[in-house]
């Protein structure tokens, strides 16, 4: 498409054309109205002066007779720029006036008419037009008084001329304005198109230019930029995930392979083979779990699980998870308690349960007080409290908080943000089994529901909280990156 073609196809240009047409129509009708009114005014003026003069002349004729009439007419006819006068005898002979010739039949009919005429003194052959009135005087004499219409014609000419010019100016200025506006818009759109093409070509860091006027295009560009921001963040996340998958799945896979190879190479007993195979299955089960967790996170982060949401009670989830994990905690020498107030939540129940389960599993795994941190003087009561894990469900403002508090070593403030990332297993936990995805999944689930995962100090220990908008406030506005809260 040529540049011109592109230009005239812009909405701005088309709108300009439409406005131009409207304005031209408006100007034309305004001038038309003006011309018509002027014409009416001139005609009215002529008729009133002519009527007055006829009355006057009639009066003179009545008082002074034919001589007075002829004298007055001849007198008046000689004035410069005079009206038209003609007096005829009953048999049609002209006896006074300044009219040389008339259209035939004009003199015979009384009343107003528009006619071509020629003055007596005129040498040219051009016909002029005049508005005349003919009356019958007593004694059969006829009187014609009229006014040349040249003035009216001239005025009309002026108006027509003005109309032409103004239309021309409107059209030229309008077109120029249209082209200017269209080009301006087009330039900005072209800039946007250029950027989007660069982005499509793979440069995700590109951003649309945003002007300062804050108009609709700027707002559009801002929104698109926000969208690009999110896409870029997702892409970066995706790349991180694939890097991490490559790293963290390859390690156990290599281990798996090595073990199989080793078993194959050694000439061991049946029992040894068996053992090697069992280890292989164990290892691959672990891999599958990691893989499932990764898929789940990806799913939650991409928002696909949003279809399966309904209203449910957060307390039920807390109680259910408590019920499931209470024996396990007890076996590990901990006490799992629950404190839940009934509060409605809108979301994917399964995912929220799993997120809470992950937090509880973490608390059971890592929530044991570090032996060195236990002062020797600590009594039995203190120790019982420090081995307690608390699941809480409550409403805070328009948020539903599902939290798990342990009294273990906690996570140093500096590490908290880091802890949520995929595969991160803090130094202290390297020796424990697990995929390192528990907190990431919990965080992804919170984000999916438009909330966040908060990690806070429990003095000592860790409080991990899923903060999710309550059922009545949640409008499925997921998407923002979770922000770590610094305080409990």
């Amino acid at each position: 498409m040529t540049a011109f073609g592109k230009l005239i196809r812009t909405t701005a240009f088309r709108l300009t054309l439409a406005y131009l047409f409207l304005f031209a129509l408006f100007a034309a009708s305004l001038l038309g109205y003006f011309a018509w009114n002027t014409r009416r005014l001139i005609t009215e003026q002529i008729t009133s002066t002519v009527n007055a003069e006829i009355g006057e002349i009639d009066d003179i004729f009545g008082r002074r007779g034919l001589r007075g009439l002829v004298f007055t007419i001849e007198n008046r006819a000689l004035r410069p720029g005079a009206n038209l006068y003609l007096v005829t005898t009953p048999n049609g002979q002209a006896i006074a006036g300044n009219v040389g010739s008339l259209a035939p039949g004009v003199m015979a009919t009384n009343g107003w008419s528009e006619t071509a005429y020629r003055r007596l003194e005129d040498q040219d052959n051009a016909d002029h037009r005049a508005l005349v009135r003919v009356t019958q005087l007593s004694g059969g004499f006829r009187l014609l008084i009229g006014r040349d219409l040249e003035e009216r014609k001239r005025l009309f000419g002026i108006v027509a001329n003005a109309a032409q010019w103004s239309l021309l100016i409107v059209v030229v200025l309008g077109l120029a304005g249209g082209v200017f506006v269209a080009r301006r818009v087009l330039r900005r759109i072209d800039a946007m198109t250029g950027t989007t093409q660069r982005i499509m070509a793979g440069d995700l860091s590109g951003r649309l230019p945003v002007g300062r006027s804050g108009d609709e295009l700027d707002r559009l560009a801002e929104n698109l930029n926000a969208m690009l921001e999110r896409i870029e963040a997702l892409m970066v996340g995706l790349k991180e995930v694939s890097d991490n998958i490559a790293h963290d799945l390859k390690t156990p896979l290599t281990r798996l392979r090595n073990r199989a190879e080793e078993a194959l190479a050694s000439s061991g007993s049946d029992a040894e083979y068996r053992h090697a195979l069992e280890r292989t299955i164990e290892e691959s089960d672990g891999l599958i779990r990691t893989f499932n967790a990764l898929l789940m996170i990806a799913r939650a982060e991409s928002g696909q699980a949003r279809g399966n949401m309904d209203d449910f009670d957060a307390a039920e989830v807390a109680n259910g998870i408590h019920e499931l994990y209470e024996p396990l905690a007890e076996e590990d020498g901990m006490t799992l308690r629950v404190k839940a107030t009934s509060t409605r939540l809108h979301g994917n129940r399964e995912l929220i349960s799993q997120a809470l389960a992950n937090l509880v599993e973490n608390a059971i795994k890592y929530g044991t007080p570090a032996p060195s941190a236990q002062p020797l003087s600590a009594g039995a009561a203190d120790s019982a409290e420090s081995r307690e894990i608390l699941i809480e469900a409550r409403r805070d403002g328009n948020q539903v908080l599902l939290s798990v508090t342990d009294h273990g070593p906690g996570i140093p403030e500096a590490d908290r943000k880091h802890a949520v990332e995929r595969f991160v297993r803090l130094e202290a936990s390297r020796t424990q089994p697990g995929s390192g995805l528990g907190l990431s999944l919990a965080s992804a689930v919170a984000t999916l529901h438009g909330g966040e995962l908060r990690l806070a100090d429990a003095h000592p220990g860790l409080t991990a909280t899923l903060a999710i908008p309550a059922a009545d406030t949640s409008e499925r506005v997921a998407g923002q990156t979770p922000d770590m809260s610094k305080t409990g």
Partner: protein
């Protein structure tokens, strides 16, 4: 017991057929959706094992077509799509159970057995009996020999599920799905702890244990001598 396995991956299909034949099943194979549908319609099978993604006709549409014709043979769906909503979709399409890939054969076998039993079994009983253990589903009373046992509600449901499938292997995920209604995979041995609590209530102090751990698969409740 006759099984139809509809799976397009030749190696997995052969592996499954072999494994099922080893435990005494008659297993037939179909490699695509169309073949699977025509076999399922004509043959008399106890359970169909259907891969979700199949050439020519996908698993869910196959099940839909079968159900539409009034065929009620239990179907277990195998799928690489393992998320909760995929599962719900599969069950809604007419599947009776859903097992995400990769799975262990023990898990698959346990589920197929439960399915086949469900199909042919009698109407739900009100009382389950295994050896001298008796569970009354209406009054929620559990009696072993002459002793009445006190169980927590969840322990009762756990025992109820185990006894309903007495003599069959029940896996940990089956328990988590059916007793707790969770479909995620815990990273810890939560189920084992619940089982050991239950075991201490029903087997402790009795000469013959009823609740058995099946290594590499799950649990089974059964009277030792039958």
């Amino acid at each position: 017991m006759r099984l139809l396995i509809i799976e397009d991956d030749r190696e997995s299909a052969d592996y499954l057929a072999k494994a099922f034949r080893e435990v005494g099943y008659v297993a037939e194979l179909a490699a695509d959706g169309e073949e699977g549908l025509s076999l399922a319609e004509t043959g008399d099978y106890d359970v169909l094992v259907v891969d979700r993604m199949l050439p020519k006709r996908d698993g869910l549409s196959l099940i839909g077509a079968l159900r539409e014709k009034g065929n009620r043979t239990p179907v277990l769906i195998l799928s690489a799509l393992g998320q909760v909503d995929d599962r719900i979709k599969g069950l809604r399409a007419g599947g009776d159970d859903y097992l995400p890939k990769p799975y262990s054969f023990a898990e698959l076998l346990a589920r197929v057995e439960v399915l086949s039993r469900r199909h042919g079994g009698p109407a739900e009983e009100t009382t389950y009996r295994v050896g001298d253990l008796e569970l009354d589903r209406l009054s929620h009373r559990v009696v072993r020999g002459k002793d009445e046992l006190t169980l927590q509600p969840r322990e009762f449901r756990l025992l109820e599920y185990l006894m309903k499938h007495a003599g069959q292997v029940v896996t940990r995920t089956m328990l988590l799905e059916n007793v707790w209604d969770y479909h995620f995979d815990p990273q810890t041995n939560v189920i084992d702890v619940h089982i050991s609590r239950l075991r201490s209530k029903i087997d402790k102090g009795f000469e013959r244990p009823l609740l058995h751990t099946i290594r590499g698969a799950g649990y089974m409740i059964r009277d030792g001598i039958r």
